[in-house]
Each structure stands twice: as structure tokens, then as C-alpha cells.
Symmetry: C2
Subunit: 412 residues, 2 copies
């Protein structure tokens, strides 16, 4: 008998009917001999309803009282799900974040979990009960209610799974797993049976919004097997786990992309030590996050410096950069918002050379011009003209034969 | 500087606008130099919304999880009111029942308060903050959320006022005070400036539904001055307090009435010891509460026995009584639902004879037949034919000159 932590998001518990379906699913898993802890979000629409109320009172609501307000959303769901379970003859008990003592820091609206007192949950499980826990919320040392920020319920589920050393943490959502790339872009995208934590982090942060990044980090850190699966279908979904136990490594797990960035270039900067800091320091001071950074040395003791930022920060970044250019005596500043970033992700590339050249060759064959390149141990990203985004993704998906099950990868 | 505990019901906090008005009122009282604790109910309609959700899951919702669900209603209000106060520059802090440790027994859905840990509230008050507490809810020894039953917010306010030895507990509601009788029945009904706890209990339990009986009992027990006043007007309302400090006692405080009872009579019961228990025992066993009881001795070694029950229990009570009559060999059983109870209430009657005769004389003058009479130290109740209800109330209101300020009673 193994312990499972299940997490259902707002859409999956969006109505009494859907909550009843979640209860049925829990019962099936119990019938298979599992112990079950369920983490739930607020019913879809509830958090927005509460935020609207708050904004009518105070347009810029934040802080302690906003957490007191928003945390009621999940509390409603835990009560309803526990009732649904008990109506089916299944003993259940609900807990708010504070009751199960999910201790966090005191940063309201985006608190971080410090510890969980799992003793009470264990006692209930031993007593044969299903434990239903409110996601997204905790309590600080002073006893004030905190929330973990949007999507924090995933983190609650993983943290509970870690504290209870659960066999698996299952995140039920409205997608049925993690794909080799977005199926809306490449029709032959394939659902992955497994992906590593590191790959998932790259896929998530690059735009495949299936799971909260914090939840994946947490799962990786505490080695909690994490499964993403559909709350509306019976399907194994995708297992996110360590590299261990895999017969054979796929070279590339998937193709991620991102259309939310803009590119800025400062040209003809005198090439001297500290120049990178001279340029990026003021950008950081303006609270703008920089993603890719590329520097070329020109022929005339000057250098060109290119970086990308979130599109929302583009205007502000251009202003800062223009001021920096004036101070440094740079030749010119230019920017472009019509760019896209495409990344090839896979832990297999650690031990296999040639991924980069295969990638560049495929793009060249389609005459897609590469404007920037950035690499890490398990990914290679390129920036291209925005209009080549879909073509680029499809080209790379085909080049690495991602529509096919990798040879030697075990089917379960 | 005195400490006030204010309580606002669902209608008074029914919208963000109304919550803003409550905040304004709190600020005015602070401006007058008061320390303020506010107890609030769920926004009007919210509890019903939650109950509807629960019933879709489980038609007969009750127990622990129902409390987890319903307690979110007040939690929403405390957050919104605290935000409204802070938006006005007034430091505020909200607490759920569990956070301020309103410790109750474990009888879910109708728990009773055992103790309150007022230390945290005192600390906030000393720090110059307004404390906003969720009414209606508490927490049991095991840390489970409990609720006090409908109207329990009044009890929360009184209990907090007692724990903090507040100068006054003010219950803001949609009526502006306690009247000598229902103004819809007697147009010349007068609002009372003061009434004693005992009188208020009789008035409330007899049908003037202004305050929860439990809250009045609690206030009387701990001697908490209680004021009922309008949340929409500026007005002193009615102060409920002890008899002390009153210059002169009014003989009668008011006329209460009740149209929710039914009368049952069993005639020709053999008059022998234990007969009352023989009749009322089976009624109690059927979980039917009995209000008035009258027994007459007949001339033939038999007795007639009449009592009243809630109209909802009438059918069931008739069935039980018929069975009892058969067993005891009584002559007949009869019942009537078209009755009304009218009561004259006043602590003054303790020391003044003649109230009963004045009452009966007034009713006789209008040819109103009295079917039952029951008396206590501070009230005299009669049962009359339902069609005489309004006439009877008006007649008694005039007979005791309740439209006029009693002579000698100080005007404040």
C-alpha cells in the first residue's frame, strides 16, 4: 500500500459536480489500496470573485488581510470535498494550511514554506482517513495566515509529498501531460512518458506552462516523483523524476519556445574591463530581469553587447540603455520586440556532442537566421525573428525525431 | 478612553459599500477616544450561498466539515473590513475565531464558547490597532473549526466584551432598538431607552427577535452592558443592563407575543400521582418541547391537562397524546393551532401587586376570552384565540400606558 498525494486545480474542482468526480477518483485509488492525501485549489472563479471584492474596498489590495481573504477560497473546497467523500462512506478530514501547520515565512502574498508538521496527517492516514488539505496557504510563526502566490497549490502538494515521503505526487490538471513541444505548433508533438526534473524546469521556464517552477524545483530537491495528468481522463500522464532507472536516455526531451522577450543591443562600446557591469548594473537597478546575454568583440577596440528582457520591460530597458550609452560613449542603441526564443532541451546532450550542429544545420536548411545563441548543460537556445517561430519549432521537432518514441526507452 | 466591542450583522456588511460605512463608523468612535474591537458576520447571502454548495454535494450537510465551510463567510468579512480600515489610515488586524482562540466544545454547528484568550487582542489594542474578529466561530481543543449556530456572532461579541471587560457591547442591526411591543401591531409602540437582561430574555424568547437569547444570557451572566442600535442611523438605541442605577422602575417594560404555538388538551384523565409525567414523559421522549402547562382538577376524580408546543410539532404531539390517552383511559384529546400567546413583561411587577388583575380586566373589557394563564416572577402570559392577537396586544399596550415615558425614569 503506497501513499499518494493528489493535487486538483481550480478547474478540476470548479463545481459541486466536478468535486464529486474528484471524490470518485479518490475512492478508486483507495480501492486499489493506496493511502491518499488530496490538495485542492479554490474553485475556479472564486479567487477572482474575492479579488474583485477586495478591489472595491481598496484598489491596491495586498499584505496580511489579502491572505486572510484569499485563503477562504481553498477552505471552501476542502470542506466540500471532505463532505463528498463522507457522503460516499469514505472517512475524510479537511485541514487548512494553518491547521496542518504548513509553516511559512511572513512574506504575505508570496510566502515560502519552511516546514510541515506531518504528524497529524500521518495519524489520520493510519486511522484510515483521506486527508484533504487546502493548497496555496500556510501560517507564519505569529499565527497569521499566509499565501504562497498564484499556483502555490502545486508547491503545497509537493511539500506535503516530501514531508510524508509519498510514493508519488500527482498533479491533476486540464492538460494530460508534458509534450515534446506545444501541439498547437507541431501537430505531431508527442506526450512524454517521463522527463527529468531539470528538463521540466527548462521546459517550464521557457514557456510550457504546465507546472509551477517552484513546485518542480521543490520536487527535484526532495526527490519527489511528480506526475502530471488529466483530471478528466484516465491516463498515466507524464512522470517527472530523476534520471535514475531509465534504460536509455533520449538525447532531446523537447522543444520549448518563448515569445515574451525583447532584444536590446548597444554597439560600439569601448572594450574595457567592467563594461558588462557598466551596462547591466543600471538595468538591474531598474529591477529589470535579463535573460540571454551575448557579447561580441568588434575590430576597433570596441564591443557590441546584446541581451534580452521581458517584453513588458522593453521600453524602460531602452531608456536605461540609452542613458548608459551616452555615459559610456557608445556608438548606438537598438532594440527589437519581434523576436522569439526556441530551445532544445534534454539531459542527454550532456553526454552527446553534435546536438548544437544538428540544430543549426536544421535551421539553416530552412533559411532561418539565428540572431543569438545561448547554451547550458541541458539546453541550447536561439533567438530568431518572430515570424520564424512556428517553422523553427516544427523543423527542430522533426530534426530530433521527437514524434517517435526514443529507441531503448522503456514503455512504462 | 473606554473599550467598545461592536458587532455588525450580515445586512450591515452586505456589500463593499456597507463595509466602508462600518469602517467610517469605527473611525468616528476612535475619534471620540474609544478603543474598538469589531465582530462581524458573513456578508448577507454568503451563508446561504455556501449552504447551497454544500447541499449540492450532500443534501443533509452537518458536522465538522460544514463548520469548515461556513466559517469562511466571516473570514471574508474580517479581511475586507480590515482592508477598509487600513485604506483609511487606521491600523487594523483581523482574527478568525481560531486565531483569537475562542475555545469551544466540540459540538459542531452549535458549539458553546468555553474561554477566550484575550491576550493577543489586548496587545493589539495597546498598539493602537482596531481588532476585527470573525463572529459565529471558534475552535475546539483538537484545533478543529466550530461554529456557534445561526446568530452566534452576537454571542461572540458579548463573550469578547466579557473577556476584555469592555465598557459596552454594541449590537448594530437593522432595527434601531427594543420596543415596548411590535410597532407593526401597536402603532404607538415606544422604543425603550433601557431594559433589564431578564426583561430582554422574556421579550426575546416570546417573539421579539432582536437579539440571540444566548447572547443576552451571556451578557447578563457576565454583566456586560449591551446596546442594540441601528447600523444605518446615528441613534443611542436601547441599553440592556442590570436593574442597578435606575432611578425608578417602570412596572411593565413591554408586551411580547407569539403566534408559533399550538395547544393540546387531554380530558378526563384519572387523577393520580405521576399523571403529569405519564403525559409529558412520552412527549419529551419524542423530542417535543413543551412551553405552557396547565392542569385543572375535575369533579369526578379526573383531571384535565393542557399544554402548548411549537406549531411544527403539533401533528406529532397529537399522535403521541392520543396514544397516551388510550393507555391512561382518558376521556378525550383535543388540539388547536389557532392560538396566540400574549405576555406582559417587567421586572417592576416583582414588587407591585395588581399587574395581573389590571391585565385581565383590560382583556375582559374587550371580551377577549383567556384560555390559559401562566406566570413567572417578571411576566404574565395568556393564551387567547388567534384572531384576538392584535386587539389584545394593543389593549394591553394602552392599559399599561406604554406609549408614555414612565414617570420618574431618568431620560438617559
Amino acid at each position: 500500500m503506497s501513499l499518494l498525494v493528489l493535487k486538483f486545480g481550480g478547474t478540476s474542482v470548479g463545481s459541486p459536480d466536478r468535486i464529486a468526480r474528484v471524490a470518485d477518483r479518490v475512492l478508486r485509488l483507495r480501492g486499489e489500496g493506496h493511502s491518499v492525501v488530496v490538495v485542492v485549489s479554490a474553485m475556479s472563479g472564486e479567487t477572482d470573485r474575492l479579488l474583485t471584492l477586495a478591489r472595491e474596498i481598496q484598489p491596491r489590495s495586498e499584505g496580511r488581510e489579502l491572505d486572510v481573504l484569499l485563503s477562504t477560497g481553498e477552505q471552501v473546497t476542502i470542506a466540500l470535498l471532505s463532505m463528498a467523500l463522507e457522503a460516499r462512506g469514505c472517512p475524510a478530514r479537511s485541514y487548512t494550511g494553518g491547521q496542518v501547520r504548513i509553516l511559512t515565512d511572513s512574506v504575505h502574498n508570496k510566502a515560502r514554506i519552511r516546514s510541515i508538521d506531518a504528524a497529524r496527517v500521518r495519524e489520520d492516514l493510519e486511522g484510515g482517513r483521506v486527508v484533504v488539505v487546502a493548497g496555496f496557504q500556510g501560517v507564519d510563526e505569529a499565527g497569521s495566515i499566509t499565501t504562497l502566490g498564484r499556483g502555490g497549490s502545486d508547491t503545497t502538494a509537493v511539500a506535503l509529498a516530501a514531508a510524508l515521503t509519498a510514493a508519488e505526487c500527482r498533479i491533476y490538471t486540464d492538460v494530460d501531460g508534458v509534450y515534446t513541444t506545444d501541439p498547437r505548433v507541431a501537430k505531431n508533438a508527442r506526450r512524454l512518458e517521463r522527463i527529468t526534473f531539470e528538463e521540466m524546469l527548462e521546459m517550464a521556464s521557457l514557456g510550457s506552462k504546465v507546472l509551477q517552477i517552484r513546485a518542480v524545483e521543490f520536487a527535484g530537491k526532495y526527490n519527489v516523483p511528480l506526475r502530471v495528468l488529466s483530471s478528466f481522463e484516465e491516463d498515466p500522464g507524464t512522470l517527472i523524476t530523476t534520471e535514475e532507472g531509465r534504460m536509455e536516455q533520449a538525447l532531446v526531451a523537447g522543444i520549448a519556445f518563448n515569445q515574451n522577450e525583447a532584444q536590446l543591443t548597444i554597439q560600439g562600446v569601448p572594450d574595457q574591463p567592467g563594461i558588462a557591469y557598466g551596462i547591466l548594473g543600471p538595468i538591474a537597478d531598474a529591477h529589470i530581469e535579463v535573460d540571454m546575454i551575448v557579447q561580441n568583440i568588434g575590430g576597433d577596440q570596441t564591443t557590441d553587447f546584446t541581451f534580452t528582457v521581458n517584453r513588458n520591460d522593453f521600453e524602460k530597458a531602452m531608456e536605461v540603455l540609452q542613458r548608459v550609452a551616452d555615459e559610456l560613449g557608445a556608438r548606438s542603441v537598438s532594440g527589437d520586440t519581434r523576436i522569439a526564443k526556441i530551445s532544445v532541451v534534454g539531459v542527454g546532450m550532456r553526454s552527446h556532442a553534435g546536438i548544437a550542429s544538428r540544430m543549426f544545420k536544421a535551421l539553416a536548411r530552412e533559411s532561418i537566421n539565428i540572431r543569438m545563441i545561448s547554451t547550458s548543460e541541458i539546453k541550447i537556445s536561439v533567438v530568431v525573428d518572430e515570424r520564424y517561430l512556428e517553422l523553427g519549432v516544427r523543423t527542430l521537432h522533426d530534426a530530433f525525431e521527437l514524434d517517435q518514441e526514443p529507441a531503448g526507452q522503456s514503455p512504462s
